[in-house]
Symmetry: C2
Subunit: 132 residues, 2 copies
């Protein structure tokens, strides 16, 4: 049904939350999870992933937490989704050629065309725009 994963939704909500804080201010994963009723452990893992990717910055220990690191105007939604859930693709054959129907498939090319258009939408949307 072409849905985003919860992980991606949670990540976007968290980034939006962080972008509302003043520069340098730290926010705990717990605060965010509590505010939006997101399962704590899951959000924590997601934020850790964003940290590894350099999108947020972390400080450990008591009074630690997360804050924005990257400029959200410079990250597009396509890259962001691919970071969290892998390739944006309507079909597996947009990713690799390990499809048993590859020789006989008659709809590859048109599907690819549509796939490209879809990716374009995501590519042309920055995270900053999603925060608005």
């Amino acid at each position: 049904m072409l849905k985003l994963s919860r992980k991606t939704e949670y990540a976007l909500m968290a980034l939006r939350h962080l972008s509302g804080k003043s520069a340098g201010e730290l926010t705990s994963s717990k605060e965010i999870a509590g505010t939006y009723r997101i399962p704590g452990e899951l959000l924590a893992k997601t934020l850790q992933q964003l940290a590894r990717e350099g999108i947020v910055e972390t400080v450990q220990g008591p009074h630690g937490g997360y804050r924005l690191k990257a400029n959200l105007n410079l990250i597009n939604l396509s890259d962001f989704i691919e970071l969290l859930e892998g390739p944006v693709a309507l079909t597996d054959c947009s990713i690799d050629n390990n499809c048993s129907q590859i020789m006989t498939c008659t709809i590859r090319t048109p599907i690819h065309r549509i796939n490209e258009k879809m990716k374009e939408i995501f590519s042309n949307t920055t995270l900053a725009e999603v925060m608005q």
Copy 2:
């Protein structure tokens, strides 16, 4: 990862196969499944669904089968996908409001905007175009 279901892929391949036949000619589900190595039962069920929706026409009994009924220029991909897999929606809240985060969610509006753009692509593509 925003994928189409196999059912949708199979349906498109089947329609493409049928659209290559001469007007009125019948093709069995088995022939199509064999040609593209699609699990027979699954394709059969899918074709039956397309028949109920008036997209193909069926003739039962020996020498029976399927043939195109609808004009593929007049059916857009959005409606077609929704027929087979339900609403095209990046998030559940694009479909209904049964989301526990509904009161606090901060990304609803921007996600809806993107969702609309995505649906537009599908709406502006006819099945006939996918057959090319």
